[in-house]
């Protein structure tokens, strides 16, 4: 899975495409870890081109959210999430741990 990171003044925007499953989740985790390990904790994950997320993928995002919110130093927010993906996130009770935005400008502007 190819993951791109764009560093803005106020936050980092992460973008990827396709499936986030047990096969691809480690690549996403690596990209997110590279941001938090560099001491940046305000992250927008643009899910416009993400077509599928299994529970493995959610745990990668939860893990990053823990690192970001610790000491109130930041947050991981989600944007452009497909309806079916959001429904499954809510079904497993993890929806409440993320702020979800409808457009990228609003997500970036939240920081």
């Amino acid at each position: 899975m190819e993951v791109s990171i764009t560093q803005y003044k106020r936050c980092d925007v992460v973008k990827a495409a396709g499936r986030v499953d047990s096969n691809t989740a480690p690549s996403l985790a690596e990209a997110l870890d590279s941001i938090t390990e560099a001491g940046r904790f305000k992250i927008v994950f643009d899910m416009k081109d993400i077509s599928f997320v299994s529970s493995k993928g959610w745990w990668v995002l939860i893990d990053t959210q823990k690192k970001c919110k610790r000491y109130k130093r930041g947050e991981l927010v989600l944007v452009n999430i497909h309806k079916e993906i959001q429904e499954s996130l809510n079904l497993v009770g993890l929806g409440t741990y993320f702020q979800i935005f409808d457009d990228l400008t609003a997500a970036v502007g939240s920081f």
Partner: protein, 138 residues
């Protein structure tokens, strides 16, 4: 009509399994929401086979059969890994704080929520057998 395929028990199989499921259930005429639900439930079931029944990748195979009946979609998954007791799977931690959240049990819980029925059985002769059913709304 029943379609059966055998996949190697590794994570690389997951995308291929998803395509196989999508192709096989086309004739059932499910809406996009239900197609996603079935693909996700099967993905979670396969990950449980790899992670728990086999205890890792490249340890065995997964046989997946899809049957589209008039009012029901039936997917059967078989493997030769360790048996498990569904009663031992902890429920998800609703209302936990972010820091308290731990990764376990979500896959099996999701399967039960996404499908209309999840049935599991084990016999030493045939191994693990899981049957997922989804009602076809007309």
């Amino acid at each position: 009509m029943q379609r059966t395929r055998v996949f190697p028990g590794n994570y690389k199989s997951l995308a291929e399994i998803s395509s196989f499921i999508e192709q096989s259930i086309k004739e059932a005429g499910l809406d996009t929401r239900d197609v996603y639900a079935v693909k996700l439930a099967v993905d979670e079931a396969c990950c449980n086979i790899i992670d728990h029944a086999y205890g890792g990748e490249h340890k065995g195979e997964m046989e997946i059969s899809v049957q589209v009946e008039t009012d029901c979609l039936k997917i059967e998954l078989r493997d030769q890994g360790k048996p498990f007791n569904p009663a031992d799977v902890p429920p998800p931690q609703f209302n936990a704080t972010l820091e308290e959240l731990e990764e376990h049990g979500a896959g099996y819980y999701l399967m039960k929520k996404l499908m209309d029925s999840v049935h599991y059985e084990y016999s030493p002769q045939t191994g693990n057998r899981m049957i997922l059913k989804k009602r076809i709304k007309n």
